[in-house]
């Protein structure tokens, strides 16, 4: 053949090598013509070394010193196969350290067996919540499947990356280096430790792990050492991502998304059976066999607020409630696909009331909500305020602002950035030495879609409508996180 024709063919071969697999082509298309919010589920290719964030608005409030740790999936796609569900990306532990008015950002991937296997194979092969996986998977135990990507628990100078179906993963709080999976007691090795531990007024910590209709109830000291663990049989084998607690009771909300048959990926085990209604199981912390059940109309949920009991024994807690489980099944898949419409409607913040006479009712705030959080000084105690992300709606499946729901007044106090921002969960940070519920800040990151970078914001709980009192901007965009914890 002529030299020019040969050169053209070699060029074409080089071109196709650069776009070698359907996976890479799909990712390229998503980047170009995907949804405006696709940055929320983009892939991060490596750790983020500590770097200063730039103050772009306001000033750090005096007395706000500490670190916001957050966890969330940050790697979904590989040349040989990808995660297809938001809950299955590799966990990235983030730290936003605030000191003397300056903020330093760092982030490191949890060095899990799953990530090592999938890096070696350059393919996502591990079955997960929504990702099917394939025959190349290497899963000898639940921890081998862990994405370690959902939440954080601070225990002194360590942070635990929390997931759902396995052990916490211990990481160093300063360097964010991965250490080892945590075994709380030898005979409980590998028992699940879920993503929403509840902090009790007495300083101890309660958590849960599920297997069908059985729950392991964990009771820990604040430093992560085990006090006790007991297995309970629940009245129903519901999908249970979160639970809540008053000072004296544990509360399990049992939605009608129930175990139907063994299957992988995990979410395909469950069937939506609205005719069952939603059950509430209240368990005495001092005697886990002493329980009480309530009935509510059917709804689906992921997240609950801290619960409290009133003088007459009435128990209340809030929930980001949805009509059904379509977000879990399909919505979170769309978010990783980076395009398309999320089905159903966004969750709404509702208040559950459990009365001593056995009656239960729900009241709606009327406000779209997710990631509810409350004042840590009042965890398990009477409170009125819940902060949550807001602004999700049909055409825009991710939040764009925050709101504080005041259950005493019935009012919502909100701030919206508009659709140029993807808002993340806010934590309540009490002002030093202050006792009033409103004497606190809210600290939350966002993804600034216009600038293409992550930002960190501080709001004053008492004046959230005025917008952030300070904003810092990073030089990098981190994919959206799920849950965080503040270490003061």
């Amino acid at each position: 053949m002529t030299p020019s024709r040969r050169h053209f063919l070699m060029g074409a071969a080089a071109l196709s090598a650069a776009v070698a697999t359907p996976e890479m082509v799909r990712a390229a298309i998503a980047q170009e013509v995907g949804a405006s919010w696709a940055l929320a589920t983009a892939d991060l290719e490596g750790d983020i070394a500590p770097r200063a964030m730039r103050l772009v608005h306001g000033r750090a409030p005096a007395g706000l010193e500490g670190t916001l740790f957050r966890n969330g999936p940050a790697k979904f796609r590989r040349a040989g196969g990808s995660a297809t569900h938001w809950f299955d990306g590799d966990g990235l532990m983030r730290s936003f350290t605030m000191s003397d008015g300056a903020v330093t950002l760092a982030a490191r991937f949890a060095d899990t067996p799953k990530r090592r296997t999938e890096t070696e194979l350059d393919a996502v092969v591990t079955p997960g919540f929504g990702t099917a996986g394939d025959g190349r998977a290497r899963v000898g135990s639940p921890d081998d499947a862990s994405a370690a990507n959902t939440a954080v628990m601070v225990t002194g100078d360590k942070v635990w990356a929390l997931w759902e179906a396995g052990s916490p993963l211990q990481m160093d709080a300063s360097t964010l280096a991965t250490e080892q999976f945590v075994t709380l007691r030898d005979d409980l090795k590998g028992m699940p430790f879920q993503a929403h531990p509840r902090f009790a007024p007495d300083g101890t910590v309660w958590n849960v792990g599920m297997s069908g209709d059985r729950a392991i109830v964990w009771h820990l000291n604040h430093d992560g050492s085990l006090i006790d663990a007991q297995v309970l049989r629940l009245p129903r084998a519901s999908y249970l991502h979160d639970f809540t607690a008053t000072e004296r009771h544990l509360i399990f909300l049992l939605q009608p998304w129930v175990f139907d048959h063994e299957a992988m990926p995990y979410s395909t085990q469950f069937a939506w059976k609205p005719e069952l209604g939603t059950q509430v199981l209240v368990v005495d912390k001092a005697d886990l066999t002493s329980t009480r059940t309530y009935e509510l109309p059917s709804f689906s949920f992921f997240h609950l607020g801290d619960a409290w009991a009133e003088a007459d024994g009435t128990i209340r807690f809030d929930v980001a409630a949805n009509r059904d489980a379509s977000f879990a099944i399909e919505g979170a898949r769309v978010l990783v696909a980076g395009r398309g419409g999320v089905p159903g409607e966004p969750s709404v913040l509702k208040l559950v009331t459990l009365r001593s006479n056995g009656q239960a009712e729900m009241t709606s705030s009327g406000v779209t909500a997710e990631f509810p959080k409350g004042d840590p000084r009042r965890a398990g105690l009477e409170r009125s305020l819940t902060v949550h992300v807001a602004g999700e709606r049909g055409g825009r499946p991710l939040p764009n602002g925050l709101a504080v729901q005041d259950w005493k007044s019935g009012r919502s106090h909100a701030f919206s950035f508009g659709d140029d921002q993807i808002m993340e969960e806010a934590v309540f940070v009490p002002k030093p030495g202050a006792a009033a519920e409103r004497d606190a800040w809210l600290v939350a990151p966002s993804i600034n879609l216009a600038e293409g970078v992550t930002e960190l914001h501080v709001f004053d709980v008492a004046s959230i409508e005025g917008g952030p009192v300070a904003t810092w901007r990073a030089d990098v965009a981190l994919p959206a996180g799920f849950h965080g914890a503040w270490r003061g």
């Binding site: 899963v139 590998g190 059985r214 392991i216």
Partner: protein
């Protein structure tokens, strides 16, 4: 007659039986995480790997400082090893309340299963002559 006998004897020597000229063995060394209890090892061929009687089995007394075992006199071929470290010496592989093993277990080739024991395809290795393998069991 003597010549026939000599020829016959020579033929026997040349066509020596498999046992004498093809003695295969495998020395298995276990890299353990703890120094208590014992490693229980079972060696299988393809027919028995899925759930039959092992070709060989042994108890390695880790508490007494042992870490290896050698199985001798094996026909050359493919084999698979399944082992667990009985940390508390109760003779059983202990499990947590949800049925997951709490004691270490391992397979030849340091193979890992796919939501179950390592498959024959992942665990199989050839034993031919004097073979050795180190298996991590932590």
């Amino acid at each position: 007659m003597i010549r026939t006998a000599l020829l016959a004897a020579a033929a026997l020597l040349v066509a020596a039986p498999a046992l004498a000229s093809d003695p295969a063995s495998v020395a298995l060394t276990f890299d353990t995480g703890a120094s208590t209890g014992a490693v229980m090892v079972a060696l299988y061929d393809e027919a028995s790997y899925g759930g039959g009687q092992p070709v060989r089995a042994a108890r390695i007394d880790v508490a007494a400082g042992e870490h290896s075992v050698t199985f001798e006199g094996l026909p050359a071929g493919d084999y698979g090893v399944k082992a667990f470290h009985d940390l508390n010496g109760n003779g059983r592989m202990d499990t947590n309340p949800f049925g997951m093993p709490t004691e270490p277990y391992a397979f030849s080739n340091n193979a890992v299963g796919n939501m179950g024991p390592a498959s024959w395809d992942r665990a199989k290795f050839a034993i031919d002559g004097a073979t050795a393998q180190t298996i991590s069991i932590r």
